[in-house]
Structure formats: structure tokens, C-alpha cells
Symmetry: D2
Subunit: 357 residues, 4 copies
Amino acid sequence: MTASETIGIGVIGAGLISAYHLAGLSAAGGAEVRVLAARTSARAGPMAQRFGVPEVATDWRAVLERPDIDAVLIATPDSTHEEIAVAAARAGKAILLQKPMAMTVSQCRRIIAAAREAGVDLQVSWMHRHFEEVVRTQELLASDKLGPVHHVRIRNATAGPHEPWFFDSTQVAGGVVMQLGVHGIDLARHLFGDIETVAATTATLQRERRFPSGASVASDLEDEALATYRFAGGALGSHEMSFNEAAGTDRFRLEIYCADATLLLRTTRGALAIHAPRLFGGRGWFMPELPARPFGERQHARWLDILRGRIPSDRSAEDALAGQMAAEAIYRAAESRREERPRAAGAEARQGTDEGA
Amino acid sequence: MTASETIGIGVIGAGLISAYHLAGLSAAGGAEVRVLAARTSARAGPMAQRFGVPEVATDWRAVLERPDIDAVLIATPDSTHEEIAVAAARAGKAILLQKPMAMTVSQCRRIIAAAREAGVDLQVSWMHRHFEEVVRTQELLASDKLGPVHHVRIRNATAGPHEPWFFDSTQVAGGVVMQLGVHGIDLARHLFGDIETVAATTATLQRERRFPSGASVASDLEDEALATYRFAGGALGSHEMSFNEAAGTDRFRLEIYCADATLLLRTTRGALAIHAPRLFGGRGWFMPELPARPFGERQHARWLDILRGRIPSDRSAEDALAGQMAAEAIYRAAESRREERPRAAGAEARQGTDEGA
Amino acid sequence: MTASETIGIGVIGAGLISAYHLAGLSAAGGAEVRVLAARTSARAGPMAQRFGVPEVATDWRAVLERPDIDAVLIATPDSTHEEIAVAAARAGKAILLQKPMAMTVSQCRRIIAAAREAGVDLQVSWMHRHFEEVVRTQELLASDKLGPVHHVRIRNATAGPHEPWFFDSTQVAGGVVMQLGVHGIDLARHLFGDIETVAATTATLQRERRFPSGASVASDLEDEALATYRFAGGALGSHEMSFNEAAGTDRFRLEIYCADATLLLRTTRGALAIHAPRLFGGRGWFMPELPARPFGERQHARWLDILRGRIPSDRSAEDALAGQMAAEAIYRAAESRREERPRAAGAEARQGTDEGA
Amino acid sequence: MTASETIGIGVIGAGLISAYHLAGLSAAGGAEVRVLAARTSARAGPMAQRFGVPEVATDWRAVLERPDIDAVLIATPDSTHEEIAVAAARAGKAILLQKPMAMTVSQCRRIIAAAREAGVDLQVSWMHRHFEEVVRTQELLASDKLGPVHHVRIRNATAGPHEPWFFDSTQVAGGVVMQLGVHGIDLARHLFGDIETVAATTATLQRERRFPSGASVASDLEDEALATYRFAGGALGSHEMSFNEAAGTDRFRLEIYCADATLLLRTTRGALAIHAPRLFGGRGWFMPELPARPFGERQHARWLDILRGRIPSDRSAEDALAGQMAAEAIYRAAESRREERPRAAGAEARQGTDEGA
């Protein structure tokens, strides 16, 4: 497609997160969502109507066959990612894949390989990266005014998902680590670089969950986890993940303690509070007014710019693979009760032990 | 002494923390500090004058010999605690001992044994326990309105001490873990019960420190640490300790995530913010107005009440021993890179291997 | 129309505020905006497309002639309100009229009379009344836990409108008092009852305004005003109005000091902070979690419920008349430099001096 | 006295405010309070002991006779100020006089005249001027980064004094305007210059007051007031004064709206929050870390520096006279229900109508 052409998009999946992407694409402009696929038209219909999508499909393959679709957004349960993404790549469609990328490191590798082979652009959706306070933080860290990062505290916490499939281990890559923690892992890697070692502990505090609908589900998936990281750059990190929070966290909290500065994100001081005497000429807290853009607009405008070739592709898929390795290291560390290295999983995977190939 | 008598106090040590205790005793009323001992009268004099202490001494033994001294406050470097405290116990003086209790678990045991043998009351000073927001939190946790505690986050952080002896490993029990972290450990045990396992990582980020005076000191003591706990009651805990903070923490931050409530202490929401729908009839944050008492008054009034027999003695010394075990477990875990149990040190100690007895 | 029927709506005006109403109607559901009228199709077209309105018109009369239109939203410059609203009433359309209601008290009276005569429902849009924090405040004031209201402080402030017509005295009823201050007047009357006396001072601080577009406009309309009120119920009120604010106010700030309670709305404590010991069992601030409904949804759902006869009509038009009287009293008081009564204008009007009746 | 000599001070009055001055003098250092006078030694004794004042007196004249007293602090009820201050001046003592300066503008004039004649330094104690956030605000206003001041909002509010004499109109110059409001008036004049016109309304909301002691008092003095100002520099000001506040204000709140900046003092954003894009390179709020000095230290150190001739004398007494004029204008405006000028009282006074001279 050319830089000015309208991009034809197909959306596969009609859960809550599809609404985020559809609203973001609408706000970004320059793309047309031409078809929305879900398992049943009862699911696809209402969302298509809400966002003005002209057609629905109940088989995702139908989306891939359409020549007027340049790119697909895949927002289905984790267990289906590999099959759909590999097929989309082979059909020549650019891909935006919802996190977590897949069930295992090996699946992630296969998706990346398929996209590379087909020459299609592959992105994994890390929405937190595109929040205004995160973008500003990245700029601040790139300045030389903060000094080296000493300690990072991340908290990812909610009261837990309200859809039963999130607690079905055949459909998901894991519990709170894979569903929520991977956001924090990606944010940490995005801002602070590679994670060298991981120590962790996990717990299942609610073995039975009741939903507002009245339905309930039993699950052994971890719903509480605590990981600590040593970053290659020298910083230490603590990372709390919870599906049991009563109140306090809006998606994430992030505290960054540097030699000469402290940054607090999404705490009770607001979206971003900066203590950086070398920036502001004195000690104190500065809370910048951040741009008020529609939710999701920045992320999707960037994706469309990548698709049009206006900016280079993001490394979000490679980062998703590295994040998956870190997440798997959390599970291993919680089991072994000792420090683990994210790389180990990759080594194992490279030997093909779980690839069956 | 009888319940109404004025209590005669001797203070040993003239550092910053002695000023805290002298102000607290003055605010509490009912005691007379009769002598202040320090290594030199140049150190003792100004502080004695500031707080109206009538006499100074340059040998702490002179304090113990006075019959008009009922109780001593020991606020000298860690390495001297055992000798002074044991001598004070044998001289029949009640003791308030500054934290950390001593250099090692074994020293702690010997101090406790000496006090028990002499029949004198022994307290270790955990000032954070007596902060109004902590007292209120303890009451809230004792109610049945919060549900079980799931996760606890503690941060103890400052820019580091300004007195060189804090970085001299012959005088102190350890770096930031022993000087600052023991506060958080005690607070955690005080509020949430025994710590079963510890995982940890430590670092020395500033190997040379410059003080405002212009002096500098080299030290290998850890100045940054990160520990995670599993409490016997089932909660997980993360504990950051830092002597490298630019800004953000006033002594400590504490976040308590319960099944039905969240409590934030000393964060940007103020001293205490409580989300507890079962207490307040709805979702939201309540920030109680806490009593405005002079700093240190509550702790010292309580101590004097213990000395007068008005209330039972606190278990602060036994807790200090348990906290020392947890702190030593942090060091072992940072070394072994795996989970350790605080009890291990006790087991070893009980076998007498480092007690020489 | 029956209670379950879809309500056909016509929107007249395509400025910023129309977008608020269109989004609110869409969120509320149950109504169809069937036509959008603006002076030019260049103005009407983009907004119609954005909100999926199927038809546009360049003459508002065309809207009134359509039988499929049950109700009209009038969001045009103040000087056109009387003509359009009276015509709409005569055409039998229910009316939602943007504030300020009209240019003068007399015009307001004529609009009310026309609606009454035609038997159509007439509402003036006071969006602030429907904010969640205001609804909650109204409930709290209705309880007996706050004690009588002593003092009310209102601030309405922005950096000023970005559309030149707001500064053209032939098109608008006044400056910041009429454009922004009437919101605070209505909020005050809505929550605290009738205003008995008004003292005021006004100023024009920026006699020339430059807009982001590069255009500029000269105007003598007041852009800063300060009024004080005595409420019939005994409370005192201070009311700041500004089109010159650099930062600090998001539409409004409201502080309510009662005998036994204090309420702060839209301050730096968040949307609503309540100190009310008789409600919460102790001194402190409670910040309730308020429902997160789409912006404008509550107001428009209520309007549609009124139109369907599900709830009684609001007195928003009569209140707009009373608010207009208060606003005119501000102008008179600023001129006379003494206290004035809002009723005076009414008295004058009742004598028919400017009514031609 | 020479610049290095210890200054001998006598304190007259033993109420709450004397404790503020005694603590401030102690923190400032370099002065000795040698005698404390109060009506009874039962009042003088405990305060003298608390602050280590060696002697007490029950007749203030005894203080003025002592040659070792260089300066007196007068902190007695308003009705006694003129007599004591004039006598002190004649005795050659420098004077720090508690606010309000006296009962009337005429009394203020006579005190100033007496001090001038005797050649002694005369200060009126405006403690708010010396708060760190006020000092910083003054510096910011003096920079050229904020633009002209448009609007100022001041609130002075407490739950009311706990000593009955504050409600006895024979002993005090007035109610909340004179006791609390004069602080705000002085702060306003200190920061923003002369007040040109005043409009006001006052009320007595609690005609009977009960104190924690169980005693009660009836009073017609105003306990609620609302004034608006036009400053000579063009700014508008609103000023709330209350002795009926449940919660919300710690002595004062101050909001300053400038053309290019907004400053909030002692609001829920902390002691000082600054929005000033030209200072910080962008929109946002900066909350400076202010020096943590003991309460009262700055004011008293400054006073002692004036007494030693190290810095020029402050105009605090002339400002007190001007403030008294503004306060009296508030009473007149509340009576006349129209704008009044502070100068009028002066004009009247200059005609000698109430001076008997």
C-alpha cells in the first residue's frame, strides 16, 4: 500500500480488548475496519454495529482470504494465536497480535519465523508503552539528567478478569503473570533494558472465582505473583502482580528511583511526578500536563505509520519473545525457589525439546 | 519505683537519635534525664544544654553506677550494644536499646539472657511502631473488615546517613539492611506476623560516599537491597531498602493489599489512606485525621508506663532477635541466590556454634 | 411518543457543545439524531459524519418541519435562542436549549411562555448538575449529617473560548458572567437555594484576544468577575469567574463549608472530598469512588426519560430565568457598586417595561 | 546593643501565642527571654518553666523597668495594646506587638507616634509573612515570569478560639475579621500591594459558643465574613473569614491567578504548587521542597537581626495601620452594603474626630 492509501483492516476477536483497538483505530484515522470476525455472529454483531464495521464473519479464515484486507488485528484467546497468526502471515497480511504473544516461547518463535518468511510486518500490542506518561518517561530516561536507575518498582493489579476463559489453562498461557505481568515485564524491558535474573514466588489465593454474572469457575492458575529482577544495566526491580486487588492500582504503578531523580507513574500524585533537581533547578515534584489524546489513538496511529512505511517497524514481537522468556523464568523461579535466567528457556527451546520438530 | 515516682534516666550516646529520645521523653513527661554520656564532653555538652540535662559524663560506666538512674537509653554504635547493655542489666537498670539490637543474633541472645537473669526490663526502640498511622493500621487489621492480607509492600529509603561510622563495618552490624531495613522487618512482623522465607538481592551502588562536611568514606557495605517474604499467615511481601534515594520516601512507605481493603501508609495520599468498603459503606478512600502529638511522645510515654508497671512489657527485644534473624537471612539469601528461612540462623545459634558457650 | 419508542431528535448548531450533546445522546441510547442543522454544510457535514447523523440542513426551519423529529437541541449563539426556541415550541417540538437561555430576562420569559402555550417540554442544559460529584453532593446535602451551609466558594474559570463570536456583544448575552458564570449560579441555586442579594465587581483584562488560529478579536465584554451572594437560607457565597486562567480549574471548583462538614468538589483532592464526621465515624477526608459513566450520558438519559414521561420534568427553564436574573444583578451591582437583588429585574419585567405587553 | 550581644527580652502575656514566640526565639538563638509577665503567676509559671524563662512577673510595668531588657514582646488582649506599647516605647524598649495592633486605627496611630518619638523599633507580628511558602511566593511574584496578578483568593478559617476573652467585645477589636482576617489582609497587602476598595458582608452564625472546657459564652461579634477587594495594581481579591469551619483550612489558603501562572498555597496540593510554564519549560505543577526550619525560627531570627541593626527595619507597623483601615472598611462596607475605601477611616482620623487631639 502507499503512504496515503486507506488501510483495510480485519479484526479477529470481539472481546473487551477489541473495543480498545477499534476505538483507537477510529481515533487514529486513515484506516477502515472492513470485517470483524468472532466465533458467533451474536458476539460479532453488537460490536460491529457499535464501531460501524460493515461486515461480520464467524470464521477467521474468511478474513484472511479477502484482498481488501491489508492487516489483521488478532485478539482471540492465547491458545489460538499461533494458528491464526501463522495463517495470516502466509496470507500476506500485516499483523497486530494481542498479548501475551502465545502459549510458549516456542510458539512465539514460530510466529516470528512465519512473519519473517512471508515478509509481513508483525507487531505485538503493548498498549502501556504508548501511554503519554510512559512516552515522557522514556524521553526523560534518555536525557542525562536523572543519573543511573537504581531501583524500579512495578505493580500490575486488578480485581481479576470477568470472563471465564481467562481461568481455563487450556486456553491461556498462564495466570496473572501471563495476563497482566507481561505488561510490566515489557514496560520494564522497554524502559530499562534486558532482565538478567529473576527470582519469584507465586500463589493461588482464589481457587474459585465468582463473576458478576453469577457464574463461577475453579482454577489453579496463579492469581498473585511477586518477582524481583536484576537488570543487565545494574538496576534492581520488584514486580507485583495481582488478580486480587480491592483498590489502588489503575492497570499499573511504576516507581523509578535514579541516582539523581525519582519518577512516579500512575500513583496518587497523578499520571507522572518527577523529582529531578537537574531538570527543574531545585528539589521538588513536577507533575507535567500530558497531552490529552483519545485513548488508544497514539498506539494505533503509530501502527498505521509503520504499515505505511513512514516510520521503521517496532521490535515489539522480538520484545514479546524476550518477555515470554522472562515470564517463563518467573514460573521456573517460583518452582525452584532460586534465581533463574530468562535465557535458559530460549536455550532449551533452541534445542527443539518442546518443538516436536 | 512506684507508679507515680519520677523516673531517673541516663542517656548513653549523643548522636542524632539521642535527640529524638530526649525530645520524646520531654514531651512524655514524668521522667528526668539526669546524665548524658558520650565519648567526649564536646559531644555531650551541647546536647545536654539543648535538652536541659544537668550533667554529662564521658564514661558510660559512670551512668550505671548512679543510684538515681532507674533506666538507661543506649544509643551508641551497634558494636558497643552488647557490652553496655549487659553491664546495664547487671547494674539493675531498665534498658531501652537503639536498633539494630546488636551485631549478630548471638549478641542479641546474650543481651536478652542478661536482662532476664538480672530481672530488668529490656526494650529495643522501634520508633515506627508508635507512629499514629501504624497504631491505627494495627487496629484496622485487628478488625474483621479488611479480609486476609494478600500483599505487603515496604520501602525504607533515605539518601544515606551523614555520619562516617555508619559505613565502618567494624562498628555496625551491616549496611542498609541492618540500619534501615530492620525497621521495615520489624514493622512487617509487628503487623503481619512471622516471616517464613526470605529471598533477596543486595548491591553496593556508592562505594565512596561524600558527606556535606566534605569528608568522604569508602565502604563495601550494601547500600541497596531488595527482599521478598512469605509470611506464615500466607501473605507475600516485597521490601526495598535504599541509602541512595534522591526523593520519594519519608522513612518508609507501606502498602497493604487485603482481600477486601487496601491501606496506603506514608504515600502521596498522606499518612494513611484506607479503602475499606465494609468500614465506610462504599468504595472510596478515607484519610483519617490522626492525633497530632509531639514526635516521640507516644513511644516514650509507653516506655515509662511499662517501667511504672502500668502496662505489660512489650516483646520488642524478642522481636528484635527475630528481626535480626530475618536480616541475616537476607544476607544469606543474597549470597545463595535462593530462598532462606530466618529460623536457620536460630537453629545454628542454638547449637552454640558461634556462641562460644 | 410512548415510553418505549425511539425518540427522533434534531440538532441545531454544530459547535463544540453540539459534540457534547451528540456523544451524550449516543451513550444514553434510545434516541436517534435524524438531522443536524448548521449555517453551512461545511460546518454541519463533518460533525454529522463523526456522529453518524444521516442528514444535514442549512436552515433550522427545515428541522422544525419534519414530522419524524420529536425534540430539538438548540446550541446556537445566544442571540438566536429566542427566535428558534419560540418557533420550535410552536412547531410542537420538545426543546433542550443550551445555556445561557437567552440575551435577557425578557427573552427568557417569552421562551417559557411559548413552551407553556404550546404544551411542549422545555429544558435548559445545565451540564454541571449532572456530574456524578454534584449528584452525590446533592444527596449529601439532603441528608441531615452536614449541618447548615455556612459558606460556599465557586470558581468558574478557563483560558477563554476559542471562537470569535463569544466576544461579539451582538451575538452573546454577556462576557464571562453569562458564558461561564451562569453555570456556577445555576449550581449554587440548584444546591443551596435562592440568592437574595448580589454584590459584584467585573473587569476586562484582555481587550484583545488572539486565538490559536492566528485570528484576533477586540472586545469590551467582561472577562473577569467576582460576585458575592447572600442566600435566602443564610449561607454566604463567593463566586469567581474568569476567562483569563492559566491553570487550576477544570470547568469549576466548589467548596462547601457546613456547620459539621466540609465538601470539596473538583479540587486537587479529586472530584469530591468529604469531611463529615457524622457520616464516617471520625474526622478525616473521604473521597468516594464515583460511577464511571460516559461523559454526558447521565444528563441525556434523564432528558429522554423526561420526554418519555418516565420522570417528571425538571425545572431547568424556570431556574435558567432565575439564574439570568442573578447574572443581570451581577452586572447592576458591578455598576452601582452596591448590593443588588436578583428580583429587581423581575420586578421591572413584571411592569412590562421591556416586554411590550 | 551591638550586633553580637545577646538581646534581653521580656515577654508580656502567657497565652497560646506566647508559646509560639518563645519557641521561635529559642530556635532563632542569640536572645535571652529574661522575664515573663502575666496577670497571675499561675498563668506565668508553667509557661516560664516550659521555656526555661528564669523569672516571672505579675505586673507588666516591672518588665519595662528592668535595664537588662532590650525588647519586649506584647501578646496580651487587644484592648491593652495601646497602654502597654506606649509605655514600653517611653521606657526605651524595642517592641514586637501581637496582631491585631490595637482596637482602632486611632490607637494604632498613637502607638506608632510613641515609638517614633522614643526612637524605638516597633514591629507588629505577622507570622504568615514568614512562612516558607509565602517567602517563596514573594520571590516568584518579584520575578517577571508570572505576568500580572488577576485574581487572588484568600481563606482564613478555624473552628474558632478556645479562650472566652476572644468573644468579649470590650477586650478585642472585633470578631473574625480582626482576629483572623487581618492575617489575610496583611498577606494580601504584603504580596499584592494596596487595597483600593472593599465590599463585604458579615454574619454571626454562633451566638453562643461552647468550649471544650464546658464553659460557654454569648457574643454578637461577627464569626463569618466575606470581603472582596480591588487592589490598586488591578487585581481582584476575594477573602473568606470564618470561625465556624469544620475542616479544610490550616490557618489560610491562598490561590493566586496570574496572566501566565497560577500559585496555590496551603491547599490540598501541599504548601505551595506552582504552574508557571515560563519558569519550568512547560505546563504542569511544580511543588518545591521548602526549607524545613523550626516553626517561628525565621520570623524571630529576622526580628533579632533588625534589633541588631543587621537588616533594615520592616514596615510591619505601618502595614498594620493600613490593615486596620482595611478591616474597618470591611465593617463599614458590611453596614453600608456598598463599596468602601480603606482611606476613609484615615481621613476621618486625620481630622482628629476620634483622637481628642
